[in-house]
Amino acid sequence: MKRYPSALAAIAAASAIVLAGCSSSGSGPADPSAPVTLTVSAWNLDKTPEFNALFDAFEAAHPNVTIQPVEILADDYPEKVATMLAGGDTTDVLTMKNVTDYARYANRGQLLDLTDFVAELPTDKIAGLEPFDIGGKYAAVPYRQDFWVLYYNKALFDAAGLPYPDHITWAEYSELAKKLTSGTTADGQKVYGTYHHIWRSVVQAVAAAQTGGDQLSGDYGFFADQYALALDLQNSGAALDFGTANTQKINYRSMFETGQTAMMPMGTWYIAGIKAAIEGGTSSVEWGMAPMPQINAGGETATFGSPTAFAVNENAEHVDAAKEFIRFATGGEGAEVLAGIGVVPAYGSDAVTAAFTALPTDELSKATFTEDKEVVLEMPVSEVTSDIDTILEEEHELIMAGQKSIADGIRDAGDRVKNEVL
């Protein structure tokens, strides 16, 4: 027992020394061409080619820097990073898997303040930077900005003689889904009109982005229409029911790649996935991309998305190199590397769009990607985000599994958020 306080003191002392070392290296006249080994936390290097692509490109541009990835499993990435930081880990660059985790680390003071650094960046070209603003300060810069679109199977549309879902409304979407539900695949599986994955964002974040509702408010009336639509689709058999999708751990990729669904709202990260599946010969789907359906026709497309960012550890040993890496990865050079492998960079320019070759060549797909649109953050960030996230997730499950009516679920979610969180 007695060992503990002393252990804690030792940790504090050690980190103090590290901190002192950092600040001196940050301000001192360090030799920029001295050899440096930069450590960067990342997940599943083999399955996430963007990391190695960025690392290789950066090393080529900075011969004195060697990047040593700290590989962490994607599944429990935030938990491991939290544990490592608790132990005083000195990994230089930390990848922020999502904004919620970012807010946690930043609020605990575990990330280096990058406000001045960000001021020097071409911020007008970096999408998704705004959510990283915590009280006027930045501690991370996004390198990747995914947003949600509607994927569709061209062959199934053609077979049904229906027009592609070009800027449609939810009412049209629902009608299309019902018409497209017919027959079976070559494997004898039922073909659905659409597939809604089990994530709550499919219903809730869409509703928030398109109605302007606030998911942190505790008033969730704005979810109602979107739930009515989703339930109607699954009850009419035009979409796989939530209970089955959830308990059978249905893979959305299977649904789309094996032609079991004609449409599917999903994030742009999937572009690289389809590309890989087609190239690898496990799928022959003819696909296209359309903007998310909207509540009303004719307006600007509103959808939601979520950025991925790099931050510098407060205990980093190589602050300058870390900043240089972030400047590279979040800028034009990094963006072209990312676009080249089918990943949507946060940094936008014509050159980047031109480098994005994974996209289908039809006009609708291109327009979906390049048109002006409003991308709302998937879940707003605050200290209560993760608590509310948990509650909304639970109530979502109950509504979709038919265990609660839409009205009851929305009321209970609101009550719980107001009574227990806010």
Binding site: D46, D75, T83, G87, Y270, G273
Partner: protein, 271 residues
């Protein structure tokens, strides 16, 4: 008698089939493409047998190195757990000394605390001693559990004290009694402790995940999880790896279960 045996066998075979269903699913999935694993309704026979999964897994991840790491950890930990566990259990069950029962209660109590509660403090200690990201950290964490002590103690309780008294009168030291009498008598218990420790270490995910960062130290369970990406997972490969990783466990079990043959303990008592 013959009829009863046949009936028993039939019953066992029926039960077995029931028990093996998920295992069959695992094997079937390991022979599919990733996007055919989770389908509705379940496809029990792959449409196309992807045997190449079993060849590819060795190159997609350093499976052999992972297997070696897992084997090293599981064998070392099981050995230490059995050794120190049975040694301590002798003290707890056959010797009298002050503080013994309180100490045992402390052991018992720790079993009741969920690891989630002390994971972070434990990590801080390891970090302080500089053992994070070494195999030694996992070994130290798992080799001295209360489980082994408790299991062996309960087993020793059923070995008659008279046997030990007799040995003491013959002038054997306590250490010799443990080695010459208790260890040979407790072979079924040692087998079950070794087996269960081996399996739980082999299948452990959270411990290695938190403590091992360098890829060359990873175990099979970490390797399999590396097929789970941010938005999707290569489930066919996961199942392929799972099938491969179950094989050593089955082998160990087949060898270990031979210790559960009625009559070992009694023949020991007679001798």
């Amino acid at each position: 008698m013959g009829v009863r045996k046949v009936a028993l066998s039939v019953l066992l075979v029926a039960l077995c089939l029931l028990v093996l269903v998920p295992f069959v699913w695992m094997i079937s999935s390991s022979l599919k493409h990733d996007n055919q694993v989770f389908t509705v309704p379940t496809q029990w026979v792959p449409r196309e047998f992807v045997w190449s999964n079993y060849a590819d897994i060795w190159t997609q991840i350093p499976m052999l190195a992972y297997l070696r790491n897992s084997a090293f950890l599981a064998v070392t930990i099981s050995f230490l757990q059995v050794l120190t566990g049975s040694f301590a259990a002798y003290g707890f069950s056959k010797l009298r000394f002050p503080g013994r029962d309180w100490l045992f209660l402390a052991y018992l109590a720790t079993i009741a605390v969920p690891w989630q509660a002390y994971m972070i403090p434990q990590y801080l200690i390891m970090e302080q001693v500089g053992l994070v990201d070494t195999h030694l950290s996992i070994i130290l964490l798992q080799a001295f559990g209360a489980f082994g002590v408790f299991l062996m103690r309960q087993y020793y309780q059923s070995i008659p004290d008279e046997l030990i008294e007799a040995a003491r009168i013959d002038g054997l030291s306590e250490y010799r009694i443990w080695w010459r009498i208790m260890v040979p008598l407790s072979r079924p218990a040692i087998a079950s402790l070794g087996l269960l420790t081996f399996v739980s270490t082999w299948n452990d995910y959270m411990g290695p995940f938190i403590y091992l960062t360098s890829n060359e130290l990873w175990t099979v369970q970490l390797g399999l999880r590396s097929f789970v990406g941010q938005y999707d997972a290569a489930y066919a490969m996961i199942m392929t790896g799972s099938v491969i990783s179950v094989l050593p466990v089955v082998l160990v079990f087949l060898l270990g279960q031979r210790q559960f043959i009625q009559g070992i303990a009694t023949s020991g008592l007679k001798g």
